[in-house]
Symmetry: C2
Subunit: 390 residues, 2 copies
C-alpha cells in the first residue's frame, strides 16, 4: 500500500476553509454555504465573485456597485497591450497569462500593501482584467483588431464580445455565465493549493495568481478540457466511439474528462454542463459535439461497469468543450477560460490564507520530505577532488 | 495545541527525495550525499548545478562541456530584451523575473516535450538565463547600457560583470560563487514545494519555476534577506544595536535572519557566510555591515538566552546582505540573487516530481481541507433571490 506521502496529500487535511465544500459521496459542491445548483440556476458570475470575496451574496445595490467597479477595471494598461502586440504569435495563451499577470503589479500601487482592503481591490482588478488578457491575446495572435471592453455588458457577454467581436445573443451569454459560475471554485485542487502555498509566504496577489495559473496549465489539471476536445476531434464521428474508447481502455489508458478524485457519483457541475450542452445543440442546430460527447459518456460508463464493476461519471471538463466549441472558443483557450472564472475562488483563498480567516494563525507552508538518497562520507562514498574524478 | 493542518504541514512528510537532506538537530545540509561544507570549500556553482541535475559530481571533461553549454545559453532572445527596455523602470526585479520566465517558453521548442532529456535541456536554459535577466534588468532600470554575458567567465564572475560592468577580482568572484553553492538547494521549503505542486500537474518547467519565484518573492521566504538589509540600514551604527533589538524583542517582534524552522543549532550555511563576510570586510576595508551584523547576532543571542532560556542562531539570510552589499548588489536584488542559485535545486525537484524518481508513482497534489463555513439550506440559511435581499 502507498503511504500518505506517495499520494499527493490525498485525504490529508492541510487547512480549514470557509470558502467551499466538496461532498464527494453525495455529489454536492457548496460555495460559501450555497449549493452550486442553486447558484447556477439563480445567480450570475458577478454575484458569485462577490460571494467569494465578501462571504455573502450582494444586495441589489451592492451588486450594482460591484458590477460597475468590475466593468470600469477591465482595461489593460497600454504598456501591456503593446507588449502583447510584440509577442510571438505562437505563444500559448496560458504562457501569456502567466507573464502578463505579474506585469500588472507594475501598475498597481496596492500590490505590496498588506491590508485586506488592498487585497480585495487587487482581486477585483484581477477578476476584471483576466478576461481582457485572454480575449485580446486571441485577437492579437489572429491579426484581428482588439475589441475594447464594453462597460454596458456583464462579465460573460463582454468576454464573448471581446473574443468574437460580436455581442452574443442573450441565451448564449447566459449559458456562458453559468459556465463561469460552475468553474469559480473547487476547494484545495492543485492550482488553489499552489496559490495558498505562495500566499503563505506573504507574496502579493499577482504572484499567488501566477502560481495558480502555472498549476492550472498542467495537462492533468486545467489542461484536461483541452484534452477532451482533442479526443472529440480524434474520434470525430459517433460510429467511431466504441472502437476508439475500447482500444484506449484495452491499453490501460484513462479517458480524459471521466472520473474524479473526489466525486464518487455525478459531479454536480457536469450534470448542469451536460444539460446546457444539449439545449445549446438543439437551439443552434450544431449538435455534433454534444452527441459525440454523450455517446462517449455512455460507452465509457457501460464499458467501465463491465470491465471494473464500477460506475464512472463525467467530470467538469467533459461537457464544457462541446459548449465552448459552439461558442467559437478555440481549444487552447479552454484552460484560460477556466482561469477567468476560477480567479474569483483563488482570490478568496489567497485572502483566507493571508489573514488566517478560517484558522488560529497563518503559517508558511514548509512540509517535510524523507531523504532516500545516498550519504557520502558516512557510507564510504567520499568527496573526490575534481582532478581525481573519472 | 495546534493540529497538523494549522502548522503549514510542518513535520508532515509529503514525499521522498534524493536531492537533499536537512539535519536540523546536527546542523547538517547535504546535497545529493555531500555535506555543504565540503562542496562550499571544494566545488564551484557549476559543479553543484551539475550535481543537482545529474545526481553525481562531474568529471573534468563533463564539467568542461557543462560550463560551455551554460555559457552559450546565457543570451536572452532579442524580443525579451526589447520587452524589458519598455517596462516601467519601477518594476520590482522579482516581478520582472516572474513575467520574463514564462515568456522564455515562447522561444523553447522543448518546453512542451515530456522527456527527461527535454527537461534537462530546459533546466540548463533556466540556470543560464536567469542571471542575465536579473543583471540586465538592474542596468536597464538604471539607464545603464547592458553588458552582454562573457563566455570566458564562470557563472559567478559573469553575473557580477553583467551587473556591475566590471570583471570582479578573483577572490570576490570566488566568494560569490560560494554564496551560489550555499543557496542552491534546501529541500521542501515553500518555493520548492510550490514548484513541485505545479510539476505534479505536468506543467512545463517555466510554469513550475514561475510558481517557485512567486513563493520566493514573499517576505517570509526569499524576501527575508532584503528585510535583514533594511534592519542594517535602520540600525546603521553598532552603538544603536542594543536599544533597537531590545525594543523589537520587547514588542514581541521577530528579528529577521535569526532562527530557523528546521535548524536547532547553527545553520551550516550561516557559519560559512559569516566567515566570508568577515574576511571580505577585512580585505576590502568596508567593515561596517559585517561589524553591525556581528553585533546584532551577539545581542540577539544574549538577549534570547536571557529572555527565553534558549539558543538562537543566524540563518542563511543573516550574513548574505553584508556580503552582497559590499559586492555592489542592491537590496531589492538579494531575493533575485537567491533565485539565480536556487533555480538549480528547483529544476532537480521538478524533474524528480515529474518522473517520480524517488517514489513509486507520480500523483497530482490534491490535499483536503476541512470546511468550517456555513451550510445554507441545511441550517435554515436559505437562498434569497436578488430582489428580496436587503
Amino acid at each position: 500500500m502507498l503511504e500518505t506521502k506517495d499520494i499527493g496529500l490525498r485525504g490529508v487535511p492541510v487547512a480549514d476553509t470557509r470558502i467551499s465544500a466538496v461532498d464527494g459521496e453525495n455529489g454536492r459542491l457548496i460555495y460559501r454555504g450555497y449549493d452550486i445548483e442553486i447558484l447556477a440556476e439563480n445567480s450570475t458570475y458577478e454575484e458569485t465573485a462577490y460571494l467569494m470575496l465578501y462571504e455573502t451574496l450582494p444586495t441589489r445595490k451592492e451588486l450594482e456597485i460591484f458590477k460597475e467597479t468590475l466593468a470600469s477595471e477591465r482595461h489593460l494598461p497600454a504598456g501591456i497591450v503593446r507588449h502583447m502586440k510584440k509577442r510571438k504569435k505562437t505563444a500559448h495563451p496560458m504562457d501569456v497569462l502567466q507573464s502578463v499577470i505579474p506585469m500588472l503589479a507594475d501598475f498597481d500601487d496596492a500590490a505590496r500593501m498588506s491590508t485586506k482592503g488592498s487585497q480585495i481591490k487587487t482581486s477585483i482588478k484581477l477578476i476584471a482584467t483576466m478576461p481582457t488578457i485572454v480575449a485580446y491575446w486571441d485577437r492579437i495572435r489572429k491579426n484581428l483588431e482588439i475589441r475594447k471592453p464594453d462597460e454596458k455588458l456583464g462579465s460573460a457577454a463582454n468576454f464573448l464580445y471581446m473574443l468574437n467581436g460580436e455581442i452574443p445573443d442573450v441565451q448564449t451569454a447566459k449559458d456562458f455565465d453559468t459556465c463561469l459560475v460552475l468553474h469559480a471554485e473547487h476547494s484545495f485542487n492543485a492550482s488553489t493549493f499552489a496559490a495558498r502555498v505562495v500566499a503563505s509566504t506573504r507574496a502579493h496577489m499577482y504572484a499567488c495568481t501566477g502560481a495558480a495559473l502555472a498549476a492550472l496549465s498542467g495537462e492533468l489539471h486545467g489542461g484536461a478540457n483541452a484534452q477532451v476536445m482533442k479526443m472529440l476531434f480524434d474520434i470525430d464521428k459517433t460510429e467511431r466511439v466504441e472502437k476508439w474508447i475500447n482500444s484506449k481502455l484495452d491499453a490501460g489508458e484513462i479517458i480524459m474528462g471521466m472520473g474524479h478524485a473526489v466525486y464518487k457519483t455525478w459531479d454536480p457541475r457536469a450534470k448542469i454542463l451536460s444539460c446546457i450542452s444539449g439545449k445549446m445543440a438543439e437551439r443552434t442546430g450544431n449538435t455534433k459535439w454534444f452527441e459525440l460527447s454523450r455517446k462517449i459518456e455512455n460507452v465509457v460508463r457501460t464499458e467501465f461497469k463491465e470491465r471494473k464493476g464500477k460506475e464512472i461519471y463525467p467530470n467538469v471538463d467533459f461537457y464544457s468543450p462541446s459548449i465552448y466549441c459552439v461558442m467559437g472558443i478555440d481549444p487552447d483557450l479552454f484552460t484560460p477560460v477556466f482561469a477567468i472564472s476560477r480567479i474569483s475562488g483563488w482570490c478568496a483563498h489567497i485572502i483566507e490564507e493571508k489573514f488566517a480567516e478560517a484558522q488560529p494563525k497563518a503559517v508558511i507552508y514548509r512540509p517535510e520530505a524523507e531523504y532516500v538518497g545516498r550519504y557520502c562520507g558516512l557510507e564510504g562514498c567520499k568527496y573526490m577532488p575534481l582532478e581525481e574524478r573519472e
